[in-house]
């Protein structure tokens, strides 16, 4: 049993973290009881806005000694309830630790605090002629959150995911000890990679207080193609052909006309083309016009050959903004189109995307429910949303459970996994257990116990 925070704890923690950084009771906004979607609501007993690694270390020492649960939170943009204090206790917000500390031009790295927002890091890198390749749709997420979920994003097809760009982490352990994991090095065969265990651990193993991230030189040229198809089936079927062409686009996203229309109404901005049922959006980047043009041409010709209606060229800042800002708003746009929704973030092998999407369409028909989707067709990570619309509580619960059960079962059948980038948190842990089985989960629980023997960090998440 955890200790319930009392007045002595409040006084002590105010002494450690500073009066102005500690909030209790009504001082805490109800927004801290939930994330963007996770299906769990719980107010923390105390909110602490952290200022430094040392301060976090002292807070953890106190929490460890007093057996108080601590949940770390960035911007709260997660979708599976990871940043919700499921067992109460302290909610430790790191958004105030938002400084970009160092740009190392010799080793091509940037050192950041966990509260730096993805959009801030992306802009900083670009200003310095670099690219931070991970590009999740939620640009106001913190880097700490991105690392904690191993976020992927739209450029994963070519550049990989957050894990591929983390060189070193400074972390605070549950007992308050400050440690450095990994190193400012390009290669590392020095024992178990604890850094890689922490990436994607959703705040259950330790607290990320600083990260050294790899950058790459900013590609000089980038062009997108918006390819319309007569229906989603034709659009999705085109993707394996594109992959086989050996041209590596930076991104391959699919989207339906319905989703685009939701985003138009959500953003109050017209999309450049809504005449067709389904679209694939691709980006090509590189350092010369000739190379990027050639890649673009190869894929455009291929798409036309296999039945695309056209291939629209998205080549200027204005055109990219018009198209990609709509893409970035899809999640919020679908959310605004219904009364409630839940999501499935499965990842399936690239050549099974088509099969899985078709399955969700059949499921929507069978269950008589709306299941819009969009996602990263190029890397098999799909974002599928089950919309409640006007269903009553009972039907919603039943339909949601059937849909999730069937979708995760289907994903497993075709070699997929429960989450591609949003994580497990609270909402998906049942499905993780079902897929991985006892031995696999026992290994995860064992790792958790080694890091956090008292189970005070983000309890009730991922594998517990």
């Amino acid at each position: 049993m955890y200790k319930t925070i009392d007045n002595t704890d409040i006084l002590n923690l105010k002494q450690i973290a500073g009066d102005l950084n500690v909030f209790v009771g009504d001082e805490i906004s109800p927004d801290y009881a939930h994330d963007e979607l996770g299906g769990i609501e719980k107010m923390p007993d105390m909110l602490i806005k952290a200022e430094s690694t040392l301060q976090i270390s002292n807070i953890m020492k106190y929490a460890y000694d007093n057996n108080i649960p601590v949940t770390v939170r960035g911007s709260g943009t997660g979708l599976v309830g990871s940043a919700v204090a499921a067992e109460g206790g302290i909610l430790l917000e790191t958004t105030g630790m938002n400084k970009i500390l160092n740009l190392d031009n010799d080793n091509l790295t940037v050192t950041v605090q966990p509260g730096v927002l993805l959009m801030e890091l992306a802009a900083f890198a670009e200003e310095n002629d670099f690219l931070y390749p991970p590009d999740p749709g939620e640009k106001s997420a913190t880097i700490g959150g991105n690392i904690s979920t191993n976020a992927g994003g739209m450029r994963a097809v070519k550049y990989g995911v957050t894990r591929d760009y983390v060189r070193e982490l400074t972390v605070v352990m549950p007992n308050g000890e400050i440690m450095k994991l990994g190193g400012r090095v390009a290669k590392n065969s020095s024992g178990y990679s604890l850094k890689d265990l922490v990436i994607g651990s959703e705040g259950t193993l330790c607290i990320i207080c600083e990260a050294v991230l790899k950058l790459i030189p900013l590609p000089k040229v980038s062009i997108s193609l918006l390819v319309p198809f007569k229906d989603m089936k034709s659009a999705i079927e085109a993707v394996p052909h594109i992959i086989r062409s050996k041209v590596t686009p930076t991104a391959i996203e699919y989207m339906s006309r319905d989703t685009i229309l939701f985003s138009e109404s959500y953003l109050g901005k017209r999309f450049p083309d809504t005449k067709n049922e389904a679209y694939i959006l691709l980006t090509f980047d590189g350092n010369t016009d000739a190379q990027v043009e050639q890649d673009m041409k190869t894929v455009a010709d291929l798409c036309l050959e296999i039945g695309a209606i056209d291939a629209y060229i998205v080549d200027t800042e204005e055109r990219k903004k018009a198209v990609w800002s709509a893409r970035g708003a899809f999640l919020e746009a679908i959310k605004a189109s219904t009364t409630e929704m839940d999501e499935c973030d499965v990842v399936v092998p690239g050549n099974k995307v088509d099969e899985f999407i078709k399955f969700t369409h059949q499921l929507a028909d069978k269950m008589n429910v709306r299941i819009p989707s969009f996602g990263h067709a190029g890397d098999g990570n799909l974002h599928i949303y089950i919309c409640r619309d006007d269903l009553n509580d009972q039907d919603w619960e039943r339909i949601l459970n059937v849909c999730f059960d069937e979708m995760y079962k289907k994903a497993e059948e075709i070699g997929g996994l429960v989450s591609g980038e949003h994580g497990i948190g609270y909402a998906k842990k049942g499905y993780l257990k079902k897929q991985y089985g006892e031995s696999h989960i026992a290994l995860m629980q064992g790792i958790k116990k080694v890091f956090d023997p008292k189970n005070i960090l983000n309890p009730g998440k991922v594998c517990f």
Binding site: L225, F271, D273, A300, D310, A311, Y312, I313, T316, E317
Partner: protein, 262 residues
Amino acid sequence: MKFLVCVKQVPGSNNVQVDPVTGVLKRSGIQSKMNPYDLYSLEAALSLAERYEGSVQTITMGPPQAKAVIVETICMGAESGTVLSDRKFAGADVLATAYTISQGIEKTGEFDIIFCGKQTTDGDTAQVGAELSEYLGLPNVSNVISIEEIKDGKVYLTAALDDKNVKMSVKMPCLISVDGDINSPRLPSYKVKQTVTDDMVRFLSFDDFDDKNPNNYGLNGSATQVERIFPPEKNAEKQEIKGTSAEQSQALFELISAKKII
């Protein structure tokens, strides 16, 4: 129904640097693109052409490589276009530019509506449309934010003035300058690009014009001379708003209203 859209090729980046010594735009290594404001006028013309079964032609003035911007307009739906290109046109200010385009239009054909963008992102004078209409002797409406219909030889449209919107009708032929952000410009089609042939882009030079007085073109025909170009001062001023959420949001609302952001 025949429409003509005036377009211009401008530097492809919004962050073009000015050489602090020479005052010249650093264009080297910077790609070109269609002036973003022209995209809205082209879209307005293409939409009207679809609605009234008309056709769209485009025209530009610039070096031979400005052909690319005409090809781009064809990829977006224009039928053909004209490039006005001659060394004698170089260094033209807004007056000489408008005059040169007027001469080019005289040689291009007759149109029911000539469209211009609000302004360009490199010159920014927002004068060419109005001056062009003077040379062509056409009625002109600027800041057009919507075109309602074409009926009985007139265009019914709405123009935005500083503090009010005005609905009006204009007898065709006429020239209208379209405001920015009034529509969502369509994207150029790769499929159409494959079908563009040389004869779809026509080149006209000084020798093709009726007025062969070189003093009316280029630097010679310019009423203004640029003394110096310099980047504006950067303003990194920050303002902190304190108070409760309600006070902060009220103060923020007042601030952005005062700055006319909303």
